[in-house]
Symmetry: C2
Subunit: 238 residues, 2 copies
DNA sequence: AGGATGCTTCGCCGTGGCCCGAAGCGTCCG
DNA sequence: CGGACGCTTCGGGCCACGGCGAAGCATCCT
């Protein structure tokens, strides 16, 4: 005999996201990096005491993973599915209340980081190209790279070996602004970080602190555009 | 200068789902049918007065559409994206807290109604078959049926003309139990209702009232299995 | 050591929300 | 027309939850 007033699992999860402070924390974590409790407290605009309580609840609820390191406690989203759920919910919010348009429609859509892989137009185009050429094929739980694909990707600076040691996730994370699958999982993460490291992509600082979700806007640098065209035959001018 | 304590859109939407009574209402509406305020009050386990307030908030928040009819007021989910968001969130809940397993794992997964189109194993298999044979190709905003596809589908009792008048939605609604796209939109709806009407599929009564989401379980009848095999070459025995 | 820093626990207060019963409209029916 | 029914609005009570400051641990630095 279960308590009829007990919130079902759906309400319970939603309640975790429903608090403004917690939502700000989660949004901040959508970038994919792990942040300390103090940083999250600042982002959320509450004291350390309050933030501590929130973080405990989020971790307890399974949305966050905690990684203690010295006197810091790093927090990150528990999984790609958590990120996807927040993404979907956030997309719904903007779709329902189209209060604010994208600052510069096309620009913002072009490339961005979702969770921590490439999303937006670039992410979709990349996904299309890599699978279209047979360089990458989705397999249950991850991706399979053809011999040709390995060479191509590694020529762009992507460390495939490292991507393969990372936990695999078959998150065909749906991108609400493009409505097409993009490249997620360990490989997507590796690609994004490699190209950011090599300067092909550059992060833009968050424009508005309380932006829809604290997505990381990205710009493709001229070198990046050249590299993608030469290495992968991906011409983004079109 | 916006109020810094104002809940962002993410938190606002989540808050709508976060209340147990409202969550039960939304879950009940996941079947896709429109329900009256009274029915929803009963489902949620609250008085009509309380339910009225909840429904007003949900409609105000854009999650529900209201359709007054005589002295009744019918409510339904505002869009497929709303359904998808709830679906995703619900999936997250069960994934994180695998409290209760599916009663009979395989059976329950086999076929069910998501929102109001086919989901589960059957939905995915159908999607695969129809697109694999080139009978159906996704186009922005809906589906395109080849000449062959039209004949095949209409032979199974699907009214394509009616499906085309329905509002189109390119909801490649991701199915969390199968993690593959299934057939959504006006066509998906039409297919589901046609096959249910002809007895190929039969609805099962909800087992537990407070089930994860009030998904409609479906069984494929022997006639349905035969019809799918003969008409579409879809053999579900495998 | 001793002190600074990061984080958590505790106790308290304030408020927002949820809930209900009663009353007020609109609609349908005999 | 009167009454039943469906739904909404209003007023009031109640509890949960978010917020803070102070105190308590743990860790790092010198």
């Amino acid at each position: 005999m279960t308590d009829p007033t007990a919130p079902g699992p759906l309400a319970a999860i939603a309640a975790l996201i429903a608090d403004p402070a917690r939502a700000r924390m989660l949004a901040a974590l959508m970038g994919g990096e792990a942040l300390t409790a103090g940083e999250l407290a600042r982002v959320a605009g509450v004291t350390a005491a309050t933030a501590s309580g929130h973080l405990a609840r989020l971790a307890e609820g399974g949305l966050l993973l905690v990684h203690p390191q010295g006197r810091h406690r790093y927090h990150r989203l528990a999984s790609e599915e958590v990120a996807a759920a927040i993404e979907t919910l956030g997309g719904l919010a903007t779709r329902i209340a189209p209060v604010r348009q994208w600052k510069h429609g096309e620009d913002a859509r072009r490339a961005r980081l979702c969770w921590n892989h490439l999303a937006g137009r670039l992410g979709v185009a990349l996904h299309l190209r890599l699978t279209g050429e047979g360089w990458l094929t989705p397999v249950p739980g991850g991706w399979d790279a053809s011999r040709d694909g390995r060479v191509r990707l590694e020529a762009t600076g992507v460390d495939l070996a490292r991507a393969e040691t990372a936990p695999r996730f078959a998150c065909d994370c749906m991108d609400w602004s493009e409505r097409r699958p993009h490249l997620a999982g360990g490989l997507g993460r590796e690609i994004a970080s490699a190209w950011i490291a090599s300067g092909w992509l550059r992060r833009l600082p968050a424009q508005a602190e309380d932006d829809i979700l604290a997505r990381r806007r990205l710009v493709l640098t001229p070198e990046g555009a050249r590299g993608l065209k030469d290495g992968l035959g991906l011409d983004l001018a079109a």
